[in-house]
Protein backbone atom coordinates (compact mmCIF):
# COMPACT_ATOMS: atom_id res chain seq x y z
CA UNK A 1 0.00 0.00 0.00
CA UNK A 2 1.33 3.41 -0.89
CA UNK A 3 2.00 6.06 1.69
CA UNK A 4 -0.47 8.89 1.71
CA UNK A 5 1.70 11.22 3.71
CA UNK A 6 5.43 10.91 4.04
CA UNK A 7 7.35 13.41 6.11
CA UNK A 8 11.13 13.29 5.98
CA UNK A 9 13.61 15.09 8.21
CA UNK A 10 11.38 18.06 8.81
CA UNK A 11 12.91 20.96 10.74
CA UNK A 12 11.66 24.39 11.64
CA UNK A 13 13.19 27.05 13.80
CA UNK A 14 12.01 30.50 14.73
CA UNK A 15 14.15 33.58 15.17
CA UNK A 16 13.66 35.45 18.36
CA UNK A 17 15.38 38.68 19.15
CA UNK A 18 17.71 38.66 22.12
CA UNK A 19 19.04 42.12 22.56
CA UNK A 20 19.39 44.79 19.86
CA UNK A 21 21.32 43.08 17.12
CA UNK A 22 21.45 39.50 18.24
CA UNK A 23 19.01 36.74 17.52
CA UNK A 24 18.32 33.50 19.23
CA UNK A 25 17.10 30.47 17.27
CA UNK A 26 14.36 28.40 18.80
CA UNK A 27 14.12 24.95 17.33
CA UNK A 28 10.44 24.19 17.20
CA UNK A 29 10.90 21.00 15.22
CA UNK A 30 14.05 19.01 14.80
CA UNK A 31 14.42 16.29 12.20
CA UNK A 32 10.96 14.76 12.31
CA UNK A 33 10.09 11.83 10.04
CA UNK A 34 6.93 9.82 9.89
CA UNK A 35 4.52 8.38 7.39
CA UNK A 36 0.84 7.69 7.24
CA UNK A 37 -1.07 5.17 5.16
CA UNK A 38 -4.48 5.61 3.69
CA UNK A 39 -7.26 4.69 6.11
CA UNK A 40 -4.99 4.81 9.15
CA UNK A 41 -4.77 7.11 12.12
CA UNK A 42 -1.62 8.66 13.47
CA UNK A 43 -1.70 10.34 16.86
CA UNK A 44 0.81 12.99 17.84
CA UNK A 45 1.09 13.60 21.56
CA UNK A 46 3.25 15.94 23.56
CA UNK A 47 2.98 18.82 25.97
CA UNK A 48 2.67 22.48 25.02
CA UNK A 49 5.84 23.71 23.42
CA UNK A 50 6.64 20.30 22.01
CA UNK A 51 6.05 21.47 18.45
CA UNK A 52 2.71 19.79 17.81
CA UNK A 53 1.02 22.88 16.49
CA UNK A 54 4.04 23.89 14.43
CA UNK A 55 3.91 20.52 12.77
CA UNK A 56 0.24 20.98 11.95
CA UNK A 57 0.95 24.42 10.51
CA UNK A 58 3.69 23.02 8.30
CA UNK A 59 1.47 20.23 7.04
CA UNK A 60 -1.34 22.52 5.94
CA UNK A 61 1.07 25.04 4.47
CA UNK A 62 0.56 27.96 6.79
CA UNK A 63 4.31 27.99 7.41
CA UNK A 64 7.28 26.88 5.37
CA UNK A 65 9.72 24.28 6.69
CA UNK A 66 13.45 25.13 6.95
CA UNK A 67 14.59 21.70 5.90
CA UNK A 68 12.96 18.45 4.94
CA UNK A 69 10.26 17.28 2.63
CA UNK A 70 6.57 16.62 2.88
CA UNK A 71 5.41 14.06 0.34
CA UNK A 72 1.74 13.76 -0.31
CA UNK A 73 0.72 10.74 -2.36
CA UNK A 74 4.29 10.44 -3.63
CA UNK A 75 4.69 14.02 -4.88
CA UNK A 76 6.44 16.69 -2.96
CA UNK A 77 4.28 19.45 -1.58
CA UNK A 78 5.12 22.97 -2.59
CA UNK A 79 3.54 26.02 -1.16
CA UNK A 80 2.49 27.41 -4.50
CA UNK A 81 0.48 24.29 -5.24
CA UNK A 82 -1.57 25.23 -2.25
CA UNK A 83 -4.84 25.09 -4.12
CA UNK A 84 -4.20 21.53 -5.23
CA UNK A 85 -3.29 19.95 -2.00
CA UNK A 86 -5.84 21.98 -0.15
CA UNK A 87 -8.30 19.39 -1.44
CA UNK A 88 -6.41 16.54 0.09
CA UNK A 89 -5.56 17.87 3.52
CA UNK A 90 -8.19 19.51 5.69
CA UNK A 91 -7.88 20.92 9.14
CA UNK A 92 -10.27 20.94 12.10
CA UNK A 93 -9.73 23.37 14.92
CA UNK A 94 -10.04 22.94 18.63
CA UNK A 95 -13.19 24.91 19.25
CA UNK A 96 -15.88 24.50 16.62
CA UNK A 97 -17.99 27.37 17.93
CA UNK A 98 -15.11 29.81 17.61
CA UNK A 99 -13.93 28.69 14.20
CA UNK A 100 -17.23 29.30 12.40
CA UNK A 101 -18.40 32.69 11.25
CA UNK A 102 -21.40 33.62 13.42
CA UNK A 103 -22.89 35.85 10.71
CA UNK A 104 -22.98 33.22 8.02
CA UNK A 105 -25.51 30.48 7.48
CA UNK A 106 -24.14 26.95 7.38
CA UNK A 107 -25.23 26.43 3.78
CA UNK A 108 -23.57 29.68 2.72
CA UNK A 109 -20.36 28.70 4.46
CA UNK A 110 -20.24 25.29 2.78
CA UNK A 111 -21.08 26.89 -0.55
CA UNK A 112 -18.13 29.27 -0.20
CA UNK A 113 -15.78 26.36 0.31
CA UNK A 114 -16.97 24.79 -2.92
CA UNK A 115 -17.09 28.05 -4.86
CA UNK A 116 -13.49 28.92 -4.07
CA UNK A 117 -12.04 25.48 -4.56
CA UNK A 118 -13.99 23.71 -7.31
CA UNK A 119 -15.55 24.39 -10.68
CA UNK A 120 -18.99 23.10 -9.82
CA UNK A 121 -22.06 25.07 -10.89
CA UNK A 122 -24.67 26.08 -8.36
CA UNK A 123 -26.80 22.99 -8.96
CA UNK A 124 -23.92 20.65 -8.33
CA UNK A 125 -22.83 22.63 -5.29
CA UNK A 126 -26.29 22.39 -3.77
CA UNK A 127 -26.35 18.67 -4.38
CA UNK A 128 -22.93 18.23 -2.83
CA UNK A 129 -23.87 20.23 0.26
CA UNK A 130 -26.97 18.12 0.84
CA UNK A 131 -25.02 14.96 0.32
CA UNK A 132 -22.35 15.99 2.84
CA UNK A 133 -24.86 17.08 5.45
CA UNK A 134 -26.62 13.77 5.13
CA UNK A 135 -23.38 11.88 5.45
CA UNK A 136 -22.74 13.55 8.79
CA UNK A 137 -26.22 12.96 10.14
CA UNK A 138 -27.49 16.51 9.66
CA UNK A 139 -30.64 17.59 7.85
CA UNK A 140 -31.12 19.70 4.74
CA UNK A 141 -32.85 22.35 6.82
CA UNK A 142 -29.66 22.83 8.78
CA UNK A 143 -28.12 24.68 5.85
CA UNK A 144 -30.36 27.63 6.73
CA UNK A 145 -29.18 27.70 10.33
CA UNK A 146 -26.65 30.01 11.90
CA UNK A 147 -23.88 28.52 14.04
CA UNK A 148 -25.38 29.68 17.34
CA UNK A 149 -28.49 27.58 16.68
CA UNK A 150 -26.53 24.35 16.99
CA UNK A 151 -25.50 22.47 20.10
CA UNK A 152 -21.87 21.60 20.78
CA UNK A 153 -21.93 18.18 19.22
CA UNK A 154 -23.75 19.36 16.12
CA UNK A 155 -21.27 22.20 15.69
CA UNK A 156 -18.47 19.70 15.63
CA UNK A 157 -20.38 17.89 12.90
CA UNK A 158 -20.70 21.14 10.96
CA UNK A 159 -16.96 21.69 11.28
CA UNK A 160 -16.46 18.15 10.00
CA UNK A 161 -18.82 18.87 7.11
CA UNK A 162 -16.76 21.89 6.11
CA UNK A 163 -13.65 19.73 6.11
CA UNK A 164 -15.15 16.74 4.35
CA UNK A 165 -17.06 18.54 1.60
CA UNK A 166 -13.97 18.57 -0.62
CA UNK A 167 -13.49 14.81 -0.19
CA UNK A 168 -10.06 15.06 1.39
CA UNK A 169 -7.75 12.14 1.94
CA UNK A 170 -6.27 13.38 5.19
CA UNK A 171 -7.94 15.13 8.07
CA UNK A 172 -5.89 16.91 10.73
CA UNK A 173 -7.68 17.20 14.06
CA UNK A 174 -5.99 19.68 16.35
CA UNK A 175 -7.34 18.90 19.83
CA UNK A 176 -10.75 18.69 18.22
CA UNK A 177 -12.04 16.06 20.63
CA UNK A 178 -10.65 17.37 23.89
CA UNK A 179 -13.22 19.98 24.76
CA UNK A 180 -16.24 17.77 24.16
CA UNK A 181 -18.29 16.09 26.85
CA UNK A 182 -17.80 12.35 27.20
CA UNK A 183 -21.06 11.24 25.60
CA UNK A 184 -20.67 13.71 22.73
CA UNK A 185 -17.08 12.66 22.29
CA UNK A 186 -18.17 9.05 22.00
CA UNK A 187 -20.63 10.07 19.29
CA UNK A 188 -18.01 11.98 17.31
CA UNK A 189 -15.46 9.20 17.71
CA UNK A 190 -18.00 6.73 16.35
CA UNK A 191 -18.69 9.05 13.43
CA UNK A 192 -14.98 9.39 12.65
CA UNK A 193 -14.41 5.65 12.82
CA UNK A 194 -17.38 5.02 10.57
CA UNK A 195 -16.15 7.55 8.00
CA UNK A 196 -12.73 5.97 8.06
CA UNK A 197 -14.13 2.54 7.36
CA UNK A 198 -16.40 3.78 4.59
CA UNK A 199 -14.16 6.19 2.73
CA UNK A 200 -10.63 5.27 3.74
CA UNK A 201 -9.93 8.66 5.26
CA UNK A 202 -6.68 9.07 7.16
CA UNK A 203 -6.52 11.05 10.38
CA UNK A 204 -3.73 12.93 12.00
CA UNK A 205 -4.79 13.36 15.58
CA UNK A 206 -3.01 16.01 17.62
CA UNK A 207 -4.06 15.55 21.20
CA UNK A 208 -3.28 15.23 24.85
CA UNK A 209 -5.87 12.62 25.54
CA UNK A 210 -3.92 9.39 25.71
CA UNK A 211 -6.80 7.11 26.62
CA UNK A 212 -8.56 8.09 23.45
CA UNK A 213 -5.37 7.67 21.45
CA UNK A 214 -5.11 4.13 22.69
CA UNK A 215 -8.53 3.41 21.34
CA UNK A 216 -8.54 5.04 17.93
CA UNK A 217 -4.95 5.49 16.75
CA UNK A 218 -2.95 2.94 14.78
CA UNK A 219 0.37 4.71 15.21
CA UNK A 220 1.71 7.03 17.83
CA UNK A 221 4.38 9.70 17.72
CA UNK A 222 5.61 11.26 20.95
CA UNK A 223 7.06 14.74 20.58
CA UNK A 224 9.11 16.45 23.23
CA UNK A 225 10.76 19.84 22.73
CA UNK A 226 10.69 19.48 18.99
CA UNK A 227 12.22 16.02 18.90
CA UNK A 228 10.49 12.77 18.12
CA UNK A 229 11.01 10.41 21.04
CA UNK A 230 8.95 7.34 20.29
CA UNK A 231 7.31 6.40 17.06
CA UNK A 232 5.53 3.19 16.19
CA UNK A 233 2.47 1.08 16.59
CA UNK A 234 0.25 2.41 19.39
CA UNK A 235 0.03 -0.82 21.34
CA UNK A 236 3.75 -1.32 21.03
CA UNK A 237 4.62 2.19 22.23
CA UNK A 238 2.18 1.90 25.12
CA UNK A 239 3.87 -1.32 26.24
CA UNK A 240 7.51 -0.65 25.50
CA UNK A 241 8.17 3.06 25.38
CA UNK A 242 11.86 3.68 24.99
CA UNK A 243 12.24 7.11 26.50
CA UNK A 244 11.61 8.10 30.08
CA UNK A 245 9.48 11.02 29.06
CA UNK A 246 7.05 8.97 26.97
CA UNK A 247 6.84 6.37 29.71
CA UNK A 248 5.94 9.09 32.20
CA UNK A 249 3.33 10.50 29.86
CA UNK A 250 1.76 7.11 29.27
CA UNK A 251 1.80 6.14 32.92
CA UNK A 252 0.11 9.35 33.95
CA UNK A 253 -2.76 8.52 31.63
CA UNK A 254 -3.34 4.86 32.29
CA UNK A 255 -1.88 4.12 35.71
Amino acid sequence: MSMLLDVRHLSKSYRKSAGWFRYRHVHALDNISFSLQQGKTLAIVGETGSGKSTLAKLLVGIEKPDHGHILLDGTEVQLRHYRQYNHMVRFIFQDASKSLNPQQKIGQMLDDVLRFNTRMDSQQRMHKIHQTLKQLGLLNEHSDYYPHMFSGGQLQRVALARALILDPKLLILDEALTALDPSLRAQIVNLLLELQQKTGLAYLLITNHLRLVKHIADDLLVLHQGKALDYGNTAHVFKHAEHDYSRKLINSAIA
Binding site: E47, T48, S151, G152, G153, Q154, D181, P182, S183, L184, R185, A186, Q187, V189, N190, L193, E194, N208, H209, L210, R211, L212, K214, H215, I216, T234, A235, K248, L249, S252, A253, I254, A255
Partner: protein, 331 residues
Protein backbone atom coordinates in the same frame (compact mmCIF):
# COMPACT_ATOMS: atom_id res chain seq x y z
CA UNK B 1 -20.90 14.90 61.66
CA UNK B 2 -22.00 15.97 58.24
CA UNK B 3 -19.99 18.92 57.06
CA UNK B 4 -22.32 19.93 54.29
CA UNK B 5 -25.88 18.73 54.07
CA UNK B 6 -28.04 19.97 51.24
CA UNK B 7 -31.53 18.71 50.61
CA UNK B 8 -33.67 19.58 47.59
CA UNK B 9 -31.54 22.43 46.34
CA UNK B 10 -33.39 24.22 43.55
CA UNK B 11 -31.85 27.00 41.50
CA UNK B 12 -34.13 28.94 39.18
CA UNK B 13 -33.55 31.67 36.66
CA UNK B 14 -36.12 34.38 36.11
CA UNK B 15 -36.52 35.02 32.38
CA UNK B 16 -39.14 36.81 30.29
CA UNK B 17 -40.52 33.39 29.31
CA UNK B 18 -41.02 32.40 32.91
CA UNK B 19 -39.06 30.63 35.57
CA UNK B 20 -36.46 28.16 34.32
CA UNK B 21 -35.41 25.52 36.74
CA UNK B 22 -31.71 24.95 36.07
CA UNK B 23 -31.09 22.77 39.10
CA UNK B 24 -33.97 20.59 40.20
CA UNK B 25 -34.04 19.29 43.77
CA UNK B 26 -30.48 18.11 44.17
CA UNK B 27 -29.28 16.47 47.35
CA UNK B 28 -25.65 16.63 48.32
CA UNK B 29 -23.90 15.73 51.53
CA UNK B 30 -20.28 15.67 52.54
CA UNK B 31 -18.70 14.13 55.61
CA UNK B 32 -15.60 15.58 57.18
CA UNK B 33 -12.50 14.39 55.35
CA UNK B 34 -14.46 12.99 52.44
CA UNK B 35 -13.66 13.48 48.78
CA UNK B 36 -16.75 13.60 46.62
CA UNK B 37 -16.89 13.84 42.88
CA UNK B 38 -19.61 15.73 41.05
CA UNK B 39 -19.90 14.55 37.47
CA UNK B 40 -22.03 15.90 34.68
CA UNK B 41 -21.87 17.26 31.16
CA UNK B 42 -21.57 20.94 30.45
CA UNK B 43 -24.96 22.50 31.09
CA UNK B 44 -25.88 19.99 33.76
CA UNK B 45 -25.67 22.62 36.48
CA UNK B 46 -22.66 21.35 38.36
CA UNK B 47 -20.94 24.71 38.42
CA UNK B 48 -24.20 26.32 39.58
CA UNK B 49 -24.32 23.97 42.55
CA UNK B 50 -20.73 24.84 43.42
CA UNK B 51 -21.39 28.55 43.11
CA UNK B 52 -24.52 28.24 45.22
CA UNK B 53 -22.48 26.62 47.99
CA UNK B 54 -19.95 29.45 47.96
CA UNK B 55 -22.75 31.98 47.57
CA UNK B 56 -21.38 33.81 44.55
CA UNK B 57 -24.35 33.48 42.19
CA UNK B 58 -25.71 36.82 41.14
CA UNK B 59 -29.16 38.06 42.04
CA UNK B 60 -30.93 36.79 38.95
CA UNK B 61 -30.70 33.26 40.23
CA UNK B 62 -33.18 32.22 42.89
CA UNK B 63 -31.86 29.64 45.29
CA UNK B 64 -34.14 27.64 47.55
CA UNK B 65 -33.55 24.52 49.54
CA UNK B 66 -35.28 22.47 52.21
CA UNK B 67 -32.03 22.22 54.05
CA UNK B 68 -28.72 23.93 53.41
CA UNK B 69 -26.63 23.12 56.42
CA UNK B 70 -22.99 23.87 56.91
CA UNK B 71 -21.82 22.13 60.08
CA UNK B 72 -25.35 22.07 61.45
CA UNK B 73 -26.09 25.70 60.67
CA UNK B 74 -28.44 26.72 57.89
CA UNK B 75 -26.47 29.26 55.89
CA UNK B 76 -29.22 30.25 53.47
CA UNK B 77 -31.23 31.88 56.24
CA UNK B 78 -28.30 33.66 57.86
CA UNK B 79 -27.95 37.40 57.40
CA UNK B 80 -25.67 38.29 54.50
CA UNK B 81 -22.71 39.52 56.56
CA UNK B 82 -22.68 36.45 58.74
CA UNK B 83 -23.08 34.14 55.76
CA UNK B 84 -20.05 35.69 54.09
CA UNK B 85 -18.03 35.30 57.27
CA UNK B 86 -18.83 31.60 57.65
CA UNK B 87 -18.18 30.80 54.00
CA UNK B 88 -15.06 32.94 53.87
CA UNK B 89 -13.63 31.15 56.87
CA UNK B 90 -14.37 27.56 55.93
CA UNK B 91 -14.83 27.12 52.19
CA UNK B 92 -12.36 27.74 49.42
CA UNK B 93 -12.82 27.31 45.71
CA UNK B 94 -10.55 26.94 42.73
CA UNK B 95 -11.73 27.68 39.23
CA UNK B 96 -11.44 26.27 35.77
CA UNK B 97 -8.94 28.49 34.01
CA UNK B 98 -6.33 29.61 36.53
CA UNK B 99 -4.57 32.10 34.30
CA UNK B 100 -7.86 33.93 33.85
CA UNK B 101 -8.86 33.99 37.49
CA UNK B 102 -5.57 35.43 38.73
CA UNK B 103 -5.06 39.17 38.64
CA UNK B 104 -2.95 39.92 35.55
CA UNK B 105 -1.71 43.26 36.89
CA UNK B 106 -0.22 42.08 40.17
CA UNK B 107 2.79 39.91 40.92
CA UNK B 108 2.18 36.50 42.45
CA UNK B 109 3.68 37.49 45.81
CA UNK B 110 1.19 40.30 46.23
CA UNK B 111 -1.78 38.11 45.36
CA UNK B 112 -0.65 35.25 47.55
CA UNK B 113 -0.01 37.50 50.56
CA UNK B 114 -3.44 38.98 50.18
CA UNK B 115 -5.00 35.53 50.57
CA UNK B 116 -3.37 34.90 53.96
CA UNK B 117 -5.71 35.92 56.78
CA UNK B 118 -4.30 37.90 59.72
CA UNK B 119 -5.30 35.49 62.46
CA UNK B 120 -2.99 32.82 61.08
CA UNK B 121 0.10 34.96 61.61
CA UNK B 122 1.40 34.58 65.13
CA UNK B 123 3.79 37.30 66.13
CA UNK B 124 4.01 40.95 67.08
CA UNK B 125 2.69 43.44 64.57
CA UNK B 126 6.08 44.72 63.51
CA UNK B 127 7.00 41.26 62.30
CA UNK B 128 3.78 40.80 60.35
CA UNK B 129 5.04 41.53 56.86
CA UNK B 130 8.06 39.28 57.34
CA UNK B 131 5.87 36.45 58.63
CA UNK B 132 3.47 36.93 55.79
CA UNK B 133 6.23 36.52 53.26
CA UNK B 134 7.55 33.41 55.05
CA UNK B 135 4.06 31.96 55.00
CA UNK B 136 3.65 32.68 51.27
CA UNK B 137 6.91 30.90 50.53
CA UNK B 138 5.83 28.00 52.73
CA UNK B 139 2.56 27.72 50.83
CA UNK B 140 4.36 27.52 47.52
CA UNK B 141 6.56 24.75 48.88
CA UNK B 142 3.48 22.90 50.02
CA UNK B 143 2.00 22.83 46.56
CA UNK B 144 5.26 21.60 45.11
CA UNK B 145 6.85 24.75 43.71
CA UNK B 146 10.50 24.72 44.77
CA UNK B 147 11.73 27.72 42.86
CA UNK B 148 9.76 30.21 44.93
CA UNK B 149 11.99 33.21 44.26
CA UNK B 150 11.30 33.53 40.56
CA UNK B 151 7.65 32.48 40.80
CA UNK B 152 6.83 35.07 43.44
CA UNK B 153 8.19 37.87 41.30
CA UNK B 154 6.39 36.73 38.14
CA UNK B 155 3.11 37.87 36.73
CA UNK B 156 0.48 35.27 35.80
CA UNK B 157 1.11 35.53 32.06
CA UNK B 158 4.73 34.52 32.57
CA UNK B 159 3.84 31.22 34.20
CA UNK B 160 2.48 28.03 32.71
CA UNK B 161 -1.10 26.98 33.28
CA UNK B 162 -0.05 24.18 35.63
CA UNK B 163 1.98 26.50 37.86
CA UNK B 164 -0.90 28.99 37.89
CA UNK B 165 -3.27 26.30 39.06
CA UNK B 166 -0.84 25.33 41.82
CA UNK B 167 -0.77 28.94 42.94
CA UNK B 168 -4.57 28.97 42.97
CA UNK B 169 -4.49 25.92 45.23
CA UNK B 170 -1.90 27.60 47.44
CA UNK B 171 -4.21 30.60 47.78
CA UNK B 172 -7.14 28.34 48.54
CA UNK B 173 -5.39 26.42 51.30
CA UNK B 174 -3.88 29.56 52.85
CA UNK B 175 -6.77 29.86 55.28
CA UNK B 176 -6.90 26.15 56.17
CA UNK B 177 -10.40 25.62 54.80
CA UNK B 178 -12.64 22.78 55.87
CA UNK B 179 -13.86 22.27 52.33
CA UNK B 180 -12.14 22.83 49.02
CA UNK B 181 -14.31 23.01 45.94
CA UNK B 182 -12.41 22.37 42.74
CA UNK B 183 -14.43 23.30 39.66
CA UNK B 184 -12.87 21.48 36.70
CA UNK B 185 -9.36 22.14 37.99
CA UNK B 186 -7.58 20.22 35.26
CA UNK B 187 -9.35 20.98 31.98
CA UNK B 188 -6.71 23.43 30.82
CA UNK B 189 -3.79 21.24 31.85
CA UNK B 190 -1.74 18.49 30.28
CA UNK B 191 -2.02 14.91 31.33
CA UNK B 192 1.20 14.78 33.36
CA UNK B 193 0.31 17.94 35.28
CA UNK B 194 -3.24 16.70 35.75
CA UNK B 195 -2.07 13.62 37.61
CA UNK B 196 0.23 15.79 39.74
CA UNK B 197 -2.62 18.07 40.74
CA UNK B 198 -4.96 15.27 41.64
CA UNK B 199 -2.24 13.73 43.78
CA UNK B 200 -1.72 17.10 45.45
CA UNK B 201 -5.41 17.43 46.29
CA UNK B 202 -5.49 13.85 47.56
CA UNK B 203 -2.50 14.47 49.81
CA UNK B 204 -4.10 17.56 51.38
CA UNK B 205 -7.21 15.54 51.93
CA UNK B 206 -5.28 12.83 53.76
CA UNK B 207 -2.84 14.99 55.70
CA UNK B 208 -5.15 17.74 56.84
CA UNK B 209 -8.52 16.06 56.71
CA UNK B 210 -9.73 18.67 54.27
CA UNK B 211 -12.87 17.66 52.41
CA UNK B 212 -12.74 18.04 48.67
CA UNK B 213 -15.62 18.44 46.25
CA UNK B 214 -14.21 17.64 42.85
CA UNK B 215 -16.26 18.79 39.87
CA UNK B 216 -15.49 17.51 36.43
CA UNK B 217 -16.92 16.05 33.28
CA UNK B 218 -14.21 13.42 33.01
CA UNK B 219 -15.50 10.42 34.85
CA UNK B 220 -12.31 8.42 34.50
CA UNK B 221 -10.05 10.85 36.33
CA UNK B 222 -12.58 11.52 39.07
CA UNK B 223 -13.23 7.86 39.73
CA UNK B 224 -9.61 7.33 40.63
CA UNK B 225 -9.38 10.03 43.27
CA UNK B 226 -12.73 10.14 45.03
CA UNK B 227 -14.53 8.03 47.58
CA UNK B 228 -18.06 8.96 46.68
CA UNK B 229 -19.71 10.25 43.56
CA UNK B 230 -22.77 12.25 42.54
CA UNK B 231 -23.89 12.23 38.93
CA UNK B 232 -25.92 15.14 37.59
CA UNK B 233 -27.81 15.21 34.35
CA UNK B 234 -29.44 18.41 33.19
CA UNK B 235 -29.91 19.73 36.70
CA UNK B 236 -31.26 16.52 38.18
CA UNK B 237 -29.37 14.21 40.46
CA UNK B 238 -29.46 10.83 38.76
CA UNK B 239 -27.22 8.76 41.00
CA UNK B 240 -25.12 9.11 44.14
CA UNK B 241 -23.12 6.76 46.27
CA UNK B 242 -19.74 5.16 46.78
CA UNK B 243 -17.55 5.58 43.70
CA UNK B 244 -16.47 1.96 43.51
CA UNK B 245 -20.04 0.68 43.85
CA UNK B 246 -21.34 2.99 41.14
CA UNK B 247 -18.59 2.10 38.70
CA UNK B 248 -19.17 -1.58 39.35
CA UNK B 249 -22.95 -1.53 39.15
CA UNK B 250 -24.66 1.65 37.97
CA UNK B 251 -28.44 1.72 38.43
CA UNK B 252 -29.27 4.66 36.23
CA UNK B 253 -29.11 4.36 32.43
CA UNK B 254 -27.26 7.68 32.18
CA UNK B 255 -24.48 6.62 34.52
CA UNK B 256 -24.35 3.34 32.67
CA UNK B 257 -23.89 5.17 29.37
CA UNK B 258 -21.28 7.46 30.87
CA UNK B 259 -19.22 4.53 32.11
CA UNK B 260 -19.58 2.59 28.90
CA UNK B 261 -18.52 5.53 26.74
CA UNK B 262 -15.09 5.65 28.38
CA UNK B 263 -12.69 3.17 26.77
CA UNK B 264 -10.74 2.87 30.01
CA UNK B 265 -13.57 1.14 31.85
CA UNK B 266 -14.00 -1.38 29.05
CA UNK B 267 -10.90 -3.56 29.18
CA UNK B 268 -12.31 -6.02 26.63
CA UNK B 269 -13.04 -3.36 24.05
CA UNK B 270 -11.09 -3.83 20.84
CA UNK B 271 -9.35 -0.75 19.44
CA UNK B 272 -11.25 0.99 16.65
CA UNK B 273 -14.63 -0.43 17.58
CA UNK B 274 -17.53 1.97 18.07
CA UNK B 275 -18.07 3.32 21.56
CA UNK B 276 -21.38 3.18 23.34
CA UNK B 277 -23.18 6.50 23.07
CA UNK B 278 -26.65 7.77 23.88
CA UNK B 279 -28.38 9.36 20.89
CA UNK B 280 -28.94 13.11 20.83
CA UNK B 281 -27.45 15.69 23.13
CA UNK B 282 -28.25 17.42 26.38
CA UNK B 283 -31.40 19.60 26.00
CA UNK B 284 -31.13 23.37 26.27
CA UNK B 285 -32.62 25.05 29.33
CA UNK B 286 -35.47 26.65 27.38
CA UNK B 287 -36.82 23.30 26.20
CA UNK B 288 -36.52 20.91 29.07
CA UNK B 289 -38.52 17.70 28.84
CA UNK B 290 -40.97 17.10 31.65
CA UNK B 291 -40.51 14.32 34.13
CA UNK B 292 -37.21 12.52 33.97
CA UNK B 293 -35.03 14.80 31.87
CA UNK B 294 -33.15 11.90 30.34
CA UNK B 295 -36.45 10.64 28.92
CA UNK B 296 -36.04 11.42 25.18
CA UNK B 297 -32.54 9.95 25.07
CA UNK B 298 -33.05 7.01 27.40
CA UNK B 299 -32.86 3.56 25.77
CA UNK B 300 -35.43 2.07 28.15
CA UNK B 301 -37.83 4.96 28.65
CA UNK B 302 -41.49 4.05 29.11
CA UNK B 303 -44.77 5.80 29.76
CA UNK B 304 -44.05 6.28 33.46
CA UNK B 305 -41.00 8.42 32.71
CA UNK B 306 -43.05 11.59 32.20
CA UNK B 307 -43.33 11.71 35.98
CA UNK B 308 -40.18 12.83 37.77
CA UNK B 309 -38.80 9.79 39.58
CA UNK B 310 -38.14 10.11 43.29
CA UNK B 311 -34.75 9.43 44.76
CA UNK B 312 -34.69 5.76 45.77
CA UNK B 313 -32.23 4.33 48.19
CA UNK B 314 -30.53 0.97 48.25
CA UNK B 315 -28.14 0.86 51.18
CA UNK B 316 -25.77 3.75 50.51
CA UNK B 317 -26.58 4.01 46.86
CA UNK B 318 -29.13 6.59 45.72
CA UNK B 319 -30.68 6.65 42.28
CA UNK B 320 -33.67 8.28 40.66
CA UNK B 321 -35.10 6.09 37.95
CA UNK B 322 -38.36 4.22 37.50
CA UNK B 323 -36.63 1.29 35.89
CA UNK B 324 -33.20 0.92 37.47
CA UNK B 325 -30.71 -1.36 35.80
CA UNK B 326 -29.99 -4.41 37.87
CA UNK B 327 -27.29 -6.99 37.35
CA UNK B 328 -29.62 -9.65 35.96
CA UNK B 329 -31.36 -7.38 33.49
CA UNK B 330 -28.18 -5.92 32.09
CA UNK B 331 -26.48 -9.17 31.16
Amino acid sequence: MLLLDIKNLTIELNTPDGLIRAVDRVNLSLREGETRGLVGESGSGKSLVAKAIVGVLNKRWQISADRFNWRGQDILTLPYEQQRRVIGRDIAMIYQEPSRSLDPTAAILEQLEEAIPDHLLEGPWWKRSYLRRRKAIGLLHKVGIRDHQSVLQSYPYQLSEGVCQKIMIAMAIAKNPKLLIADEPTTALESTTQAQLFRLLASFNQLKGMSVLLISHELESIARYTQSLSVLYCGQLVEAGETAAIIKQPFHPYTHALIKSVPEFQPNLQPKTPLYALPGSIPVLQHLPIGCRLGPRCPNARKECVKTPTLERLQNHFYSCHFPLTGTKES
